[in-house]
């Protein structure tokens, strides 16, 4: 039964466009980082693009990014039956809670493995591109990719899927799970920057959730030649680190198991008695046509504004918006944070212009992706969710349907950019020492981005 549920889940996820879009995205990003030397993932330095160091490093970093996808998969498992209303049919069969929950979980984990597998695949294929400088290449060793996937990729996937599976079970909301992930990442970044001093090195390596610190600890003083020919060994510290986080993951899964139930509970007996239908007297009868209705131009504007608010609220609370924004902030925030460290090691002031540059490089793309995505989404959503019959049948003129969507998109775009600016201000505040010029953000970043 367990195997069947897992394979059904995997087959279901394999049909989902999200899986293949993210597979393609990860493949492309990795591929470009291999074949174009200006694009780098992690810090390859001057080691071979297909050497063990670069491979393990890239897989480790991409696995951290992959968390945004993993959350979508595992939360979907928990929420789908709840949201579609198909759950009662499944819960009334003889499947056990264990097989149901963990079978689906396993299927979703395999789906995330497939997505992350695009990374070693893209690196391997990229390394065969004919135009690559032979100087930057070593021999093709398949084991490097497998090793990297097993030690730097898979553990992160398993940890992340367990944690957010539990969180989705507890919150019953996609949004809640994503907020959890963002909080987790922010805490991770803040804590690791606070402890980024030599005396804490061992502690960080032991406790850091992705185990990359422990893994790369031994390579710190490696020469380029060593980086190109030797795999980082599995140290005791790495094993301890994985054991700690493996324990956390198991704990989360156990929690999810106990939180979840096929049958919903009734209210406790003590609660105040209240009779449902009987209590209220019926309202006085209204004859049809008594409510005033207006079909004038003024009414149309009220409708436009009402709908723009509705559409914008829809986008802001949608999972795709949150995923894209989170990835964007992760990328842009990182760019801003490290923009104060120049190449030669000197530390710069976090001036507004520096932030704007970093935002433009690391974040600009995301508002555009979000806007494009929702341009399609807003048009098709009504149709898909079957509300369009209700909406189309209302007497609002047609143009009141297109205008609010455009308004809403502009609002979303502006909101996204504002969030980027807010992140910039936060970075400046955190680093301190430079004046914050909101007007410069506006003139140099927000306006150009919005207009484009």
């Amino acid at each position: 039964m367990f195997g069947h549920v897992a394979s059904f889940e995997l087959r279901y996820q394999l049909k989902s466009p999200v899986l293949w879009i993210t597979f393609g995205l990860f493949f492309l990003l990795t591929f470009l980082s291999v074949v174009i030397s200006e694009i780098q993932i992690g810090s390859g330095g001057n080691s071979h693009v297909n050497g063990p160091y670069a491979i393990v490093n890239t897989i480790g970093v991409m696995a951290i990014f992959a968390q945004f996808v993993v959350v979508a998969f595992v939360a979907n498992v928990v929420l789908r039956d709840w949201e579609t209303g198909f759950g009662p049919i499944l819960h009334a069969t003889r499947i056990t809670k264990f097989d149901y929950l963990f079978g689906q979980f396993t299927g979703a984990v395999f789906a995330s493995i497939i997505v992350l597998a695009s990374v070693p695949l893209a690196m391997a294929i990229g390394s065969f591109m004919p135009w690559l400088d032979k100087e930057t290449l070593g021999p093709f060793v398949p084991w490097y990719y497998i090793y990297g996937f097993l030690v730097a990729g898979l553990p992160t996937l398993l940890l992340c899927s367990s944690l957010f599976f539990a969180l989705a079970t507890a919150t019953r909301s996609m949004m809640g799970s994503y907020i959890g992930l963002v909080v987790f990442l922010v805490v991770y970044l803040v804590v690791s920057s606070l402890f980024a001093r030599p005396e804490y090195e061992d502690l960080v390596a032991l406790l850091e959730p992705y185990g990359l610190g422990a893994l790369f600890e031994t390579t710190k003083y490696w020469t380029a030649a060593e980086r190109n020919s030797e795999l980082m060994p599995i140290t005791l510290q790495y094993i301890e680190n994985r054991a700690i986080w493996g324990g956390v993951a198991l704990l989360a899964l156990t929690g999810a198991y106990f939180l979840f139930s096929f049958s919903t509970k009734a209210a406790s007996k003590q609660k105040k008695e209240r009779k449902g239908a009987v209590a209220e007297a019926p309202s006085p009868v209204t004859v049809a046509g008594v409510t005033k209705r207006s079909f004038s131009g003024g009414a149309a504007w009220t409708q436009v504004l009402a709908r723009a608010r509705f559409e914008a609220a829809y986008v802001f609370s949608g999972p795709a918006f949150i995923v894209l924004l989170a990835i964007g902030l992760f990328n842009g925030g990182g760019a801003m944070w490290f923009s104060t460290e120049s190449v030669d090691g000197t530390v710069l002031y976090p001036t507004t212009l520096l932030m704007v540059q970093a935002l433009a490089g690391g974040f600009t793309l995301f508002p555009i992706i979000i806007a494009t995505y929702y341009a399609g989404e807003l048009v098709w959503r009504d149709r898909e969710k079957r509300v369009h019959d209700l909406v189309d049948a209302t007497p609002a003129p047609d143009w009141t349907f297109a205008t609010p969507k455009i308004l809403a998109l502009t609002l979303v775009l502006a909101g996204t950019i504002a969030i980027g600016v807010a992140a910039g201000v936060i970075v400046q505040l955190a680093k301190g020492g430079a004046p914050i010029h909101l007007d410069e953000y506006l003139v140099w970043y927000a306006l150009p981005a919005l207009i484009s």
């Binding site: 056990t96 096929f262 007996k269 609660k271 009779k275 449902g276």
Partner: protein, 291 residues
């Protein structure tokens, strides 16, 4: 076979949806009638182990349903009042999946069961199509098919005929009638006629209470000689309502046909009618409201 004792269910928002309900349901078809919000779906979900009741007992054969839901699920077929489906999954593969979950592990038996049901609910020609593209009635038929998978001993179907066209409704009623004499089938509906045609026993639920139960035919017999009808003009309606206990009013050719309950002929304009199950239903509800 199915015993429901003193079942009470209170939702977290304080609504008491079931109020001390007791029922004995034997093999065969059992109809649950009741107005919107009466508690039919709540009762069915509790019996189908999807909700734990606030208090009370449910037994099926020797299974204590509240204590051992997993035992009941082995012999249960359940159709919820409404349900959604996964996108991109065909009726056939969803049914196959559900068949495994219901314990039909042998691949050959499973294929036979799935194909048989797809034929019986007349979805054979569209079995490869995604469920999300089905019409409302087609989806309902898929729901019926999954409820009958695996030869359940207890079948609970919540408004199964809602949304079916007359032909499909007949097909479904025949399908239900044919599932076997040793199976307990509980169906809820708003269509009194379904119960009259199909059920050997029934109960009327109102405001979370059982207000009437028995065999449809006996209930109908008990009303004989007490139902009278008259065709009256609209303006006289209010006066009739005041004077007699009106069971039902129906428009007929611009005038109103009223049925009233009375031990003797109310007045010259009233003629006796043979009371139908609908009269039983309406008079019971009227009495429950008055109480």
């Amino acid at each position: 076979m199915l015993q429901i004792q003193n079942l009470t269910h209170r939702y977290p928002n304080g609504v008491v949806a079931l109020d001390d309900v007791s029922l004995e349901i034997g093999a065969g078809m059992f109809g649950l009638l009741g107005p919107n919000g009466a508690g039919k779906s709540t009762l069915m979900r509790v019996v189908a182990t999807l909700q734990t009741p606030t208090s009370g007992k449910v037994r099926f054969g020797d299974i204590d349903v509240v204590a051992n839901p997993e035992l009941l699920r082995r012999t249960l077929g359940y159709l919820p009042q409404d349900f959604g489906v996964y996108p991109r999954v065909s009726a056939e593969s969803m049914l196959d999946h559900l068949a495994v979950l219901k314990g039909i592990v042998n691949a050959k038996e499973r294929r036979e069961a799935v194909h048989g049901l797809l034929n019986q609910v007349n979805l054979w020609s569209v079995r490869k199509k995604a469920l999300s593209g089905y019409s409302g009635g087609m989806r309902q038929r898929f729901g019926i098919a999954q409820a009958l998978l695996g030869q359940p001993k207890l079948v609970i179907v919540d408004e199964p005929t809602a949304g079916l066209d007359p032909e499909e409704r007949n097909r479904f009623l025949n399908l239900l009638a044919a599932i076997g004499d040793d199976v307990v089938v509980i169906l809820s509906t708003h269509i009194v006629e379904d119960v009259a045609q199909l059920c050997s026993n029934m109960a009327i639920l109102a405001g979370g209470k059982v207000v009437r139960q028995g065999a449809p035919e006996e209930l109908r017999q008990s009303m004989q000689g007490q139902v009278w009808r008259a065709s009256i003009a609209r303006e006289d309606l209010e006066a009739v309502r005041q004077r007699y206990s009106v069971i039902s009013e129906r428009l007929l050719g611009g005038r109103t046909m009223v049925h009233v309950l009375s031990p003797a002929q109310p007045s010259g304009e009233f003629a006796p009618v043979e009371g139908g199950l609908e009269d039983v239903y309406f008079s019971t509800l009227a009495a429950a409201r008055a109480a």
